[in-house]
């Protein structure tokens, strides 16, 4: 069972699975020593990490602002304390005060127990950056979690889920392991569905050379989010775009951001740029995926191994722009249900999508109710950073982590009559919320935002 000395832990990848994503597990007895070696390397590279290590005054403001702590009340889930799990080691080995004063300043020797602690708590953090948002100094604990997970990955400790995603990406170019025939079959099915439901003819071009636009959907859309996939197809058809989906990168996500920002994340970036190059595309438009959009928008420039010739935008950016210019004919009455918006953390705190999501929402629905708090102040769904673990212990933890979100949704009253819509335009949010709205009995259906936009399109 995934538990270590009373701490919940995700199921970990086997050594073979680690090797598939080009990581060689370090034997247990060498782990502490190697951890220090890797930490030393990283602290000399990332200023965001060093400053986070050396600036916290422990004011405690982050505690009540973290959904993980609110849901679990585990002291190590307070962002300042979560960072402390690594800071105590950093102090002990890389600062004078830690070497001289030890426990007094909270320094501690490295041990396997500490590494196991990292594994438990860095994978309960959603990397939502709400703590950075509320911190008086702006200390970004998300960076600390990133680096904690990076160290764990180099030591050979990565959740099975994340490693499997990495492996699938290597193999077929998406997280769910969809090969091209499966992609094409699903897209043909989507065309039929659109015809049946909306009476519109929509084609989903795949790998069409010289497409002006390549659209990068989340691969989860192919299994679980039909309306998001249909929505994108309808949107591009409506505006008469010369577009296609590249079968080589049918994945908006980049789990590299979440567990390995070196090999995995970089590899995915290059895979994307290769696809854009091969199809001779002019622009890359991103689908609904929170962490993936952050990884694309903010990390492609620093991870690309060549000049990036393709402007990257999010489909919400483009839709909002067309709405502002009055080019889309929309009938909000097509979405009569009460709807609330769950802001994906990466959209609002890392990618500046706040206003554009609302531009769309207000144009395509009639009864839109904001959560409190919302926008940049919003709380995470509890699944952020891919902690969508299914084993019984971690699943219980996911229910706790979504408690705050459930309270927020309930307070809007959209689910009162059982027909509410919880718009959560991100695949991780959707995957977390599909089961969670049932667990918390919220009376809402989970949808993407482009789903609602497509329903509101007036074709004639």
């Amino acid at each position: 069972m995934p538990e270590y000395k009373g701490m919940v832990q995700p199921v970990r990848a086997t050594p073979d699975e680690m090797r598939k994503i080009f990581a060689e597990p370090v034997p247990d007895e060498q782990k502490p020593e190697k951890a220090i070696e890797y930490l030393d390397e990283i602290r000399k590279k990332f200023r965001s990490f060093v400053v986070a290590m050396e600036s916290c005054v422990k004011c405690g403001q982050c505690a009540e602002n973290c959904h993980t702590y609110l849901g679990t009340r585990d002291p190590n889930n307070i962002p300042a304390n979560r960072a402390e799990l690594i800071r105590k080691i950093y102090r002990r080995y890389f600062t004078l005060e830690g070497r001289w004063f030890g426990k007094l300043v909270g320094a501690e020797d490295i041990s396997l127990d500490v590494i196991e602690q990292w594994y438990s708590y860095f994978y309960q953090c959603s990397q939502c950056r709400r703590c950075a948002h509320v911190c008086p100094f702006g200390i970004d604990t998300c960076e600390v979690t990133f680096i904690g997970r990076q160290l764990l990955h180099w030591l050979g400790i990565t959740p099975k889920l994340h490693a499997a995603v990495g492996g699938a990406m290597e193999k077929v170019g998406n997280h769910t392991g969809l090969p091209k025939p499966g992609i094409v079959d699903t897209l043909e099915f989507m065309s039929e569905e659109i015809m049946d439901e909306f009476g519109v003819e929509v084609e989903f071009p795949v790998d069409k050379p010289d497409s002006d636009i390549i659209y990068i959907p989340s691969s989860a859309d192919f299994l679980l989010n039909p309306y998001t996939l249909m929505g994108a197809g309808m949107f591009f058809t409506y505006i008469g775009a010369n577009w296609c989906i590249p079968s080589n990168v049918t994945e908006a996500g980049n789990f590299g951001l979440l567990f390995d920002q070196y090999y995995t994340q970089r590899g995915n970036v290059n895979r994307l740029l290769n696809a854009a190059h091969e199809l001779n595309a002019k622009k890359i438009v991103w689908g609904e995926c929170g962490h993936g959009w952050r990884a694309a928008k903010m990390y492609v420039p620093s991870l690309a191994d060549r000049p990036v010739r393709w402007p990257l935008t999010h489909v919400h950016d483009e839709a909002a722009e067309l709405i502002r210019r009055g080019e889309l004919k929309l009938n909000p009455e097509n979405n009569p249900e009460p709807v609330t918006l769950h802001d994906p953390c990466n959209y609002v705190r890392a990618c500046g999508l706040n206003d554009n999501m609302r531009t769309i929402m207000n144009a395509v629905t009639v009864d839109f109710r904001e959560m409190n708090p919302h926008g940049v102040d919003n709380f995470c769904c509890g699944g952020g950073s891919g902690i969508l673990f299914d084993d019984p212990e971690m699943y219980q933890r996911r229910i706790q982590l979504s408690q705050k979100k459930a309270d927020q949704v309930r307070a809007t009253g959209v689910g009162k009559d059982g027909n509410g819509i919880l718009c959560a335009p991100c695949s991780i949010c959707k995957a977390q919320l599909y089961p969670m709205v049932e667990e918390h009995e919220l009376g809402v259906h989970v949808h993407g935002l482009i789903d609602l936009l497509a329903k509101a399109l007036v074709w004639k």
């Binding site: 099915f189 299994l223 996500g253 084993d391 695949s427």
Partner: protein, 105 residues
């Protein structure tokens, strides 16, 4: 590693109880899974779903979109949950011997 023994054959499972090697699947394996999932007997509709999943998987090496599964088998999602209490992915796919889906699902 957990294991399921069917007709004297040891079948390796992952931590979530999914088959590691889908080729070892046969109808008795599905019945053994049904026991562990608390499904007392596999009826015609169960088999319809299982067989559709297997056929689709054989052709495309992936599970179909849930919506497609519902349409092709004429089962509503709710009915699939009645048939397989753990749902289409964790229940039906497991019985059909498909590997556990990865990613944001």
């Amino acid at each position: 590693m957990p294991c399921l023994t069917v007709n004297g054959v040891d079948i390796e499972l992952d931590e979530d109880g999914f088959m590691i090697d889908p080729d070892l699947w046969n109808e008795d394996v599905a019945r053994a899974f049904a026991d562990s999932e608390g499904i007392s007997e596999l009826n015609e509709d169960h088999w319809k779903v299982i067989n559709y999943l297997r056929d689709y998987f054989k052709q495309y090496h992936i599970a179909p979109m849930v919506r497609k599964l519902c349409q092709e088998t004429s089962c509503s999602l709710k009915y699939i949950y009645d048939l397989f209490p753990s749902g289409p992915a964790k229940g039906a796919c497991k019985l059909a011997g498909l590997p556990k889906p990865t990613g944001c699902v």
